[in-house]
């Protein structure tokens, strides 16, 4: 009985399938809200030059409370100004750029290191697994912020060093997740088939196993971007972040933290901005998990 080739539906292109996958998120209300928050901030970051009412580093009226009109009466400091008279709204808008570039980039780097480690540990097993697992346990045994503080305080603070520190601290966690997924997938029939065909192990790991582990990894990546945003923020908050004067949310909180109780408007709005962005990624991750568990 020959199967008619015509009957087998053609596989849709990868792009179309990816788009359909993204569209699935609309089944989860929580996920849609999360995605909307993220899209909002991405748009803000892209259009920062257009929508920011003032240049972010320009000094105007110091310590204006929210809704103070400008001196010439043509504009308004919607969220007030800081001690140096810079418009807080404009600084928040421009600050979104840094965090939205650095956080996904750092997450990507962590994955680029963690995935090969996890694939090797899970697929090769043996001493490779033992060594990698032990090393990642060692790094994960550090309280995370202690690790960041020591690394950044020692090697200095710059965007590149933050990237390195995030990669170093996050790759072990990613490795652990990938390893767990691979341990489950390596006994599937298609992996045995590939092994029988004599495919090299790198090909089996990258082409056969990795794409089938993508579901949980995408959810994890969303959560992780959220964590990295917190990390960048907290480093800025502790005075170990990106150098001034360009706005950076964590740094904005740090600059005026001693006045947070007397002039809260200078710190409250950056706090809300960063929390909302993290919330967006967390909600999206929750929505994705919900949708992926459904079918």
């Amino acid at each position: 009985m020959a199967v008619d080739v015509q009957d087998v539906p053609r596989r849709e292109s990868a792009l179309l399938r990816a788009l359909k996958g993204i569209a699935l998120i609309r089944e989860s209300a929580v996920g849609v809200i999360g995605l909307a928050i993220i899209v909002f901030w991405v748009l803000v970051a892209l259009l920062a030059d257009v929508i920011a009412p003032f240049p972010p580093n320009q000094n105007y009226l110091p310590l204006a409370t929210p809704f103070t009109p400008t001196l010439d009466g043509t504009g308004m400091f919607w969220l007030g100004t800081d001690l140096q008279g810079r418009d807080i709204l404009s600084r928040i808008i421009h600050g979104s750029r840094k965090v939205l570039m650095l956080a996904p980039l750092a997450t990507f780097c962590a994955y680029a290191v963690g995935i090969p480690m996890g694939l090797a540990a899970g697929y090769k097993r043996g001493w490779v697994d033992d060594v990698l697992s032990f090393l990642s346990n060692v790094i994960l045994s550090f309280p995370i912020l202690v690790l960041y503080v020591i690394i950044i305080a020692t090697i200095g603070s710059s965007a590149l060093n933050i990237l390195l520190a995030v990669t170093f601290a996050s790759a072990p966690g990613i490795m652990r997740i990938v390893r767990g997924l691979v341990l489950d997938l390596r006994n599937r029939e298609y992996v045995f088939a590939a092994e029988t065909r004599g495919e090299p192990s790198w090909r089996i790991m990258l082409i056969e196993i990795l794409p089938n582990a993508r579901g949980p990894l995408i959810v994890d990546a969303c959560l992780r971007v959220g964590y990295v945003i917190i990390t960048i923020g907290v480093l800025g908050f502790l005075g170990l972040g990106l150098p001034p004067p360009d706005p950076d949310w964590g740094g904005m909180i740090n600059e005026f933290r001693v006045m947070a109780m007397s002039f809260p408007h200078m710190t409250v709005f950056p706090c809300l901005a960063i929390s909302s962005l993290v919330l967006g990624f967390n909600l999206l991750a929750d929505g994705l998990r919900e949708v992926s568990l459904r079918d």
Binding site: S141, I150, G233, V234, A260, P264, L279
Partner: protein, 310 residues
């Protein structure tokens, strides 16, 4: 069981050893940098050489590491560059202060999150479950460094109920502990709640719960006598691991509220390049983290007979 305990403690010792090597490589590999940190940037080349000579820094690296490790294990952490006194004198009182903060936080987090987690997991998908789940996502999305100024603005600036700093200058003051604990608890309880919920929901799906319900036991008895005992094993581990997170959180909270604790000390030491203080703080932090992880593992094994007897 005994073999398991010994193996876990062995792993813990090995982890600490590797951590100490990493720290040593990061901070002390280049003796020149150590001399600059200890003697300051304006010391002369000659002074540095003399200091390095006197403190044995010209010996080979492994020899230096072994000496360093020996001193460390015997409790000699060296002198703080900044305070000019032995590191221990500053470190231990600060650690005790952080202990107070951590115990107070856990005393708030554990009952609340267990209760909410059980309520949510009891009837998965119910309105209460969704509310608690989304609520816990929201609170874990507000990092400590954001909730500290936010809560400060509310309770200190607008309401004026609480003091804005927790320096404890005039002796111990409970009101100064409220805001730091609130900030830490707000961030931590969401995670424990979600884990408890997941564990509870899983237990509720099991056959023995269905049997208990079907044989007509009151729902309260099913939950209290049958579900809870198994559902609370996983949260136990999560709570123990939470101490690791708490150690990160105290850095932020103690820094913001000027609380004289371990986290603030670690941060000050790092910012001031107080090298021996950094080393001691880092080792203590990792020790606390690894020790609680080991305890969590042992406790989990002890509580779960399926693992204990296999």
């Amino acid at each position: 069981m005994l073999i398991f305990v010994i193996r876990r403690i062995g792993t813990m010792a090995l982890t600490m050893l590797v951590v100490s090597i990493l720290l040593f490589l990061l901070l002390e590999l280049q003796p020149g940098n150590v001399a600059i940190k200890v003697l300051g940037p304006y010391s002369s080349e000659e002074q540095r050489t003399l200091w390095l000579e006197a403190n044995g820094y010209f010996e080979p690296v492994y020899q230096r590491y072994l000496n360093w490790l020996l001193n460390f294990v015997t409790g000699d952490f060296g002198d703080s560059v900044r305070f000019k006194v032995p590191v221990g004198e500053i470190l231990w009182p600060r650690l005790a202060n952080t202990g107070i903060l951590a115990v107070a936080t856990l005393a708030v987090v554990v009952p609340i999150s267990l209760l909410l987690g059980v309520l949510a997991g009891m009837r998965e998908g119910s309105k209460l479950d969704r509310t608690i789940s989304v609520g816990s996502i929201i609170t874990t999305s507000i990092p400590e460094f954001a909730s500290a100024p936010l809560l400060g603005a509310i309770f200190v600036f607008w309401l004026g109920w609480l003091p804005g700093t927790s320096g404890m200058i005039d002796g111990f003051d409970l009101t100064q502990l409220i805001l730091p604990v609130m900030v830490l608890a707000l961030y931590d309880f969401g995670y424990v709640t979600r884990m408890t919920r997941a564990s509870m929901a899983e237990v509720m799906m099991t056959h023995y719960i269905r049997t208990a319900v079907l044989k007509g036991l009151p729902y309260r008895v099913v939950i209290m006598k049958h579900a809870l005992r198994n559902a609370l094993i996983a949260p136990f581990t999560v709570i123990m691991l939470q101490i690791n997170w708490l150690l990160s959180g105290v850095i932020v909270v103690e820094f913001f509220f000027a609380y004289k604790g371990f986290g603030a000390l670690l941060l000050e030491a790092s910012l001031n390049q107080d090298i021996f203080m950094i080393e001691a703080c880092a080792m203590v932090a990792v020790f606390v983290a690894v020790a609680t992880q080991t305890l969590a593992d042992l406790g989990y094994t002890y509580l779960n007979p399926r693992i204990r007897f296999s």
